[in-house]
């Protein structure tokens, strides 16, 4: 189908792939981008929050034309038991700034727009094309791809694997391991539509202001997981995710958990009367620093979710994807300008540049947290939320019990549930992993 030879082939048109293709095209490279969906975005699923800084580095004036939903003025963290939530809300008018810091987005329209910028920059974008195989030469160097469109091989100096968390190409070619049940979470999400005035009234917003809620606690039934509620312009994204290993172990169903979350007395009123228009599911890389695979080799680099570049603690994924895509592209463009071959040795520049960025630094900071959350999920996601909720209720309910007695009862309930040793152990384990 395509006889030409390209400087680079990018597999996938998500955040990482678009960032890579755009950056290389802007540097004057001949780029072919292949996407298996009907249009860029039709296979992509995210919560979704867009981080402006990382987008700005790619498209400085994106705010003027990108399909954005709401800029965030408020972040809520909720710890839930079955009937209540203990919340921390941060709301600041500072976020009503000229160049807002974070936005909610809807990925399908956003990615379509992002891809139009990639085309404008000169890349060739081919949709409805599934890459079936990497092509290697007799020295095992990656030299191109084969697709399900037939027509033989397409060659390039380098292949950028932006194929997402469930990317088959890299794992089948033995370039990295397949994701395992304990390093990916399964999240399910629904889109709930309501008139925008209703959303603004329920979330206390005006204009394009937005709110996100992140929730953890008994909704995940002792499994490592979180729920979320994001306000868009005319709809609300509601979802929940847990480690695949936990789903496998417990036999809980993801849709059952989602419906349970939607029925929670703190969530139900926010989405009451809405019309559901989509149900999606997606894996999220949760393995953190220790799950990052080899990021480059002879003729290839891997970026974004496919490389497990996701900060589960801060729920940042798309910005790590965009940044890794951009940095990989810059490293490739650098080699190209020096007229040097795309060998593993040369492409190691990508790993070096990534190590200097927030991407690797942040993941390294939390390198022990995924395992801690996994091995202590019962305590962090079931026992503590219940204890904290009881403590709060004890604190605010007025019933003639002297305060000192209440405090003693609260303390006793914590010690009874976890023992002094357990409490101190949990606190120090958490502090060490957070540091």
């Amino acid at each position: 189908m395509i006889e030409e030879r390209f400087d680079a082939i990018v597999v996938g048109a998500g955040m990482a792939g678009n960032a890579a293709a755009l950056t290389m095209a802007k540097c004057g490279l001949q780029v072919l981008q292949l996407e298996r969906g009907e249009y860029p975005g039709s296979k992509n699923v995210q919560g979704a929050i867009l981080y402006a800084d990382m987008m700005e580095r790619l498209i400085p004036d994106f705010r003027e034309e990108a399909p954005l939903e709401r800029h965030l003025v408020e972040q809520r963290f909720w710890l839930l038991d079955d009937r209540s939530h203990v919340g921390m809300h941060y709301r600041s008018d500072d976020f009503n700034e000229e160049r807002p810091n974070r936005y909610t987005i809807i990925r399908a329209p956003f990615d379509k727009w992002f891809s139009s910028k990639v085309r404008e920059a000169g890349a060739t974008v081919l949709c409805e094309t599934t890459v079936t195989e990497l092509v290697r030469d007799d020295r095992e160097r990656v030299v191109g791809v084969r697709t399900d469109r037939g027509g033989g091989e397409i060659h390039a100096d380098v292949v950028v694997l932006a194929e997402g968390v469930n990317g088959l190409l890299g794992t089948r070619a033995g370039l990295r391991a397949r994701p395992t049940p304990d390093n990916v979470a399964l999240a399910v999400k629904e889109m709930h539509f309501l008139p925008r005035e209703t959303i603004e009234a329920r979330f206390n917003l005006k204009g394009d202001e937005g709110v996100v809620i992140e929730a953890a606690g008994t909704i995940s039934r002792g499994m490592t997981g979180m729920g979320f509620v994001y306000a868009n312009k005319e709809c609300i994204s509601v979802g929940i995710g847990c480690l695949v290993a936990d789903f496998q172990r417990t036999g809980q169903t993801p849709y059952g958990m989602l419906d349970h979350f939607k029925q929670h007395p703190s969530v139900a009123p926010l989405i009451a009367g809405s019309e559901i228009k989509e149900y999606a599911a997606h894996l999220i890389p949760e393995g953190g620093y220790k799950a990052i695979p080899q990021l480059y080799g002879d003729g290839w680099v891997v970026v974004g979710d496919a490389a497990q570049l996701n900060n589960a603690i801060h729920r940042e994924g798309s910005n790590l994807a965009m940044t890794s895509g951009r940095i990989a592209a810059e490293a490739i463009a650098e080699m190209k300008s020096r007229r040097e071959p795309m060998t593993a040795k040369n492409l190691s520049l990508y790993r070096k540049m990534l190590a200097d960025s927030f991407v690797i630094k942040d993941l390294k900071k939390y390198k022990d947290l995924p395992m801690l959350m996994h091995t202590h999920s019962q305590n962090f996601f079931l026992t503590y939320p219940q204890l904290i909720s009881k403590a709060m209720q004890n604190f605010v309910r007025v019933d003639g019990t002297p305060k000192l007695e209440k405090e003693k009862a609260t303390l006793k309930s914590f010690v009874k549930a976890r023992s002094w040793r357990g409490l101190i152990g949990d606190a120090s384990r958490f502090a060490r992993a957070w540091r």
Partner: protein
């Protein structure tokens, strides 16, 4: 212990758009007489409930409603219980929102 046995996944899938590649399922279950623990796990964990037990107690897959998350691949591909590919270009689920 399922708290909400009444959730109908079929109703959820009805919201979605699909272009089904008739006769070319992208996921296949290996023939078996007794399902492995991994295959049995898929009955519950698949978010689109693509996996069902047939009358002979074997696990079957119907990919028409698949949302292509890859969870079944992560669990049951290593044991050889299933074969997983992406649908052909353009086929499968087509997210309007994503």
């Amino acid at each position: 212990m399922n708290v909400e046995p009444s959730v109908r996944v079929e109703d959820k899938l009805y919201y979605n758009r699909y272009l089904v590649d008739i006769g070319q399922p992208h996921v296949k279950v290996r023939a078996h007489t007794t399902p492995s623990a991994e295959l049995l796990a898929l009955l519950k964990v698949c978010p689109a409930r693509c996996y069902e037990l047939n009358d002979n107690g074997q696990v079957e897959v119907t990919v028409d409603g698949c949302i292509e998350c890859g969870t079944c691949r992560v669990i049951a591909e290593p044991t050889g219980d299933i074969q997983w590919s992406h649908p052909r270009g353009g086929y499968g689920v087509l997210f309007k929102f994503g």
